[in-house]
């Protein structure tokens, strides 16, 4: 498996000749001494659902607010649909934003909130009523149109905010933590709903989130941000399976990261020497023999079996179970390697353990191993 064999609905690959909908070039934002966004470049294509993922204070919201026109740029340019946004005020941009707090007008009914944007454009009355009705139908809030925001639940308010932002059919919809205020169950349900709605209306979405699971579920492409810079941009699969740095490998999902030294660099394979075993990777990587490198292994990609023998050969080592966490669908094992490093290994509980002896438990001697395709090599 290589990076280039991605799914077909990938406008960033197909439309390379076309102009991206959003072009961000060298954009920098400083608040006094603090650089919130540091010289970033990004292209977003029409129809994408793009996620900006990062911890708090990484600059993702600032970037979104610059797209909306709420923040000035210290340097760089933002172009939307070929138009430089430098002198375009927020109220004239072809973007609409869904706020984290929803920012619904408390003195207006649901209907009035949704109609507000259309009224600014002087949409004729009959057309306006139709469009408000259609969008409220899409978010299933027709019965609530006479209510005030205070009389709605959190999930309903979230949908009003979405309807209000969508009704103007913007070229670009900006969503700031759209699901953060919902409880966990509703959030999971709404993730798919949001993706479906995006699919239906065909508007380009840029979603800011700190929740990696949300970003993985929603996005067609995502950018991982840290300290005002992009750490990696790619599809969820690319980012999860081919992280470029320890930061990304650790931020998205969990990873066992350890150091090694490259001993062999072939066109279709790489060998890395580590403290406890040799790591063999069955695809090429641009590395230098003798250089220091980091290897990351996802806990679910490691096999675990009971074994008293000393494991020898590449991609395997003996270990002892230090701790077991039973999570229901999976179990998480903390295994101690010969060099005292501790790895996380998760295994699905596919069958009920019928015998106590079948179960892996504390102090069991085990062998861990992984496929040659599983180890991820990281340069930084």
């Amino acid at each position: 498996m290589t990076v280039s064999t991605t799914v077909s609905a990938a406008p960033w690959l197909e439309q390379k000749e076309q102009q991206p909908l959003v072009q961000i070039r060298g954009v920098t934002k400083k608040y006094g001494e603090v650089t919130a966004v540091d010289n970033v470049d990004l292209d977003i294509y029409k129809g994408e659902l793009f996620c900006l993922l990062g911890g708090s204070g990484c600059g993702k919201s600032t970037l979104l607010r610059m797209l909306a026109g709420f923040e000035d740029l210290n340097a760089g340019t933002i172009t939307i649909d070929g138009v430089d946004m430098a002198d375009v005020p927020a109220y004239e941009r072809p973007t609409n934003m869904m706020f984290q707090s929803y920012a619904l007008f408390p003195h207006m009914t649901v209907e009035k909130n949704v109609a507000f944007g259309l009224e600014q454009d002087h949409v004729p009355k009959f057309d306006l009523a139709d469009r408000v009705h259609d969008i409220l139908k899409l978010v299933e809030l027709e019965d609530f149109k006479k209510r005030k925001p205070k009389q709605l639940s959190g999930g309903q308010r979230q949908r009003v905010a979405l309807a209000r932002a969508l009704v103007k059919r913007p070229k670009l919809l900006l969503l700031d933590e759209p699901l953060a205020a919902l409880d966990k169950k509703l959030r999971k349900q709404t993730q798919f709903e949001l993706a479906n709605i995006q699919d239906k209306v065909g508007v380009t979405f840029i979603v800011v989130t700190h929740d990696q699971e949300e970003a993985m579920t929603l996005s067609s492409r995502m950018a991982v941000m840290d300290a005002g810079r992009f750490k990696q941009i790619g599809t969820p699969t690319e980012i999860y399976e081919f992280p470029e740095s320890r930061f990304v490998a650790d931020f998205i999902g969990s990873a066992n990261i350890f150091e090694g030294r490259v001993t062999e660099d072939g066109a279709d394979h790489v060998r890395v020497e580590t403290e406890f075993c040799e790591v063999f990777v069955d695809h090429g990587h641009s590395v230098k023999v003798g250089s220091k490198i980091w290897v990351a292994l996802r806990p679910e990609k490691i096999r675990l079996e009971k074994s008293d023998e000393v494991a020898e050969g590449p991609n395997q080592t003996s270990a002892i179970i230090d701790d077991v966490g039973y999570l229901g669908e999976t179990s998480i094992y903390k295994v101690r390697l010969p060099n005292d490093e501790v790895f996380d290994v998760t295994m699905p509980n596919q069958s009920r353990p019928t015998h106590a002896t079948q179960r892996l438990t504390w102090e069991d001697k085990v062998k861990i191993s992984w496929d040659p395709s599983s180890a991820m090599l990281l340069h930084s």
């Binding site: 026109g69 709420f70 706020f99 619904l104 007008f105 408390p106 003195h107």
Partner: protein, 320 residues
Amino acid sequence: MTDFTEDMPEPLPVKQLPISRQFMRRIQNSWRQIVTVVPFLWLLVFFLAPFFIVAKISLAELAIASPPFTSLIEWTGDGIMTIRLVFDNFVYIWEDSLYFDTYLNSLKISATSTFLCLLFGYPIAYAIVRSGPVAKPLLLFAIILPFWTSFLLRVYSWMGLLADQGTINNLLMALGIVDEPIRMLYTEFAVYIGIVYTYMPFMILPLYANMEKLDNSLNEAAADLGSRPTNTFFKVTLPLTMPGIVAGSLLVFIPATGEYVIPDLLGGGNVQMIGRVLYNEFSRNSDWPVAAAVAIVLLIILVLPIMVFQHYQGKASEEQ
């Protein structure tokens, strides 16, 4: 049929608290009652009782006595009690156009002053809300600062500023802008200046409290939906600051209507306001019953805006 009562679980025994705890609890409970009684007592002693005394006086007749009015209740021997309610004072106020005109003038002056306070106070409050973390407390302090000085002293200083030979006129003449002093003191203009100056904090502070709560993301949302700043002000900011506008306006309008010191010192005899009339009846004419009637009528006129205020407050708390 079986008797189900047998199956019923025995009621749990009520847990007896130790005597000392019971005693403490009783004290706590009585404290709670006392605390709620205090505001009622306050209202009764300092508001309702004086009000009834004034109402009583307004229904009496002027008499050469001390205090100078007749008693409502008289014992005419044989154990008969007569109550005499004299409505002459109210009829007199109604028939003499002086009072009617003065009430009207008071309302005109206080309404105009309220409007002026709102006109200047609203942008000031807005600017304070939008100011930085260093400037904000300083600006708020500057609004409250005048209260440190005596109200009377501040009005006297305005006299010094506005007089024919006062600071402003001297300055204007020294600069050669005018040849003879502009008459400002003892005009309605001076009264407006006095009232707007004095009552401005009462407009700004409720407005500030209201605006401070406003979420700036509402402004951003409006802009994002294509609304220009002026439109956002009228469609979003203004309706949401209405409770502050109503509160501030009433806090200015109600006391300004009955204002005595400012029209007396800055308006002189040229500006008739009901506060001055009331004072003259009471003090110079020693006609307590008519003065009391004037006060009662003023109260009735002002109850209306208070009710509007209550209505808005009720609505505002309902929405939250």
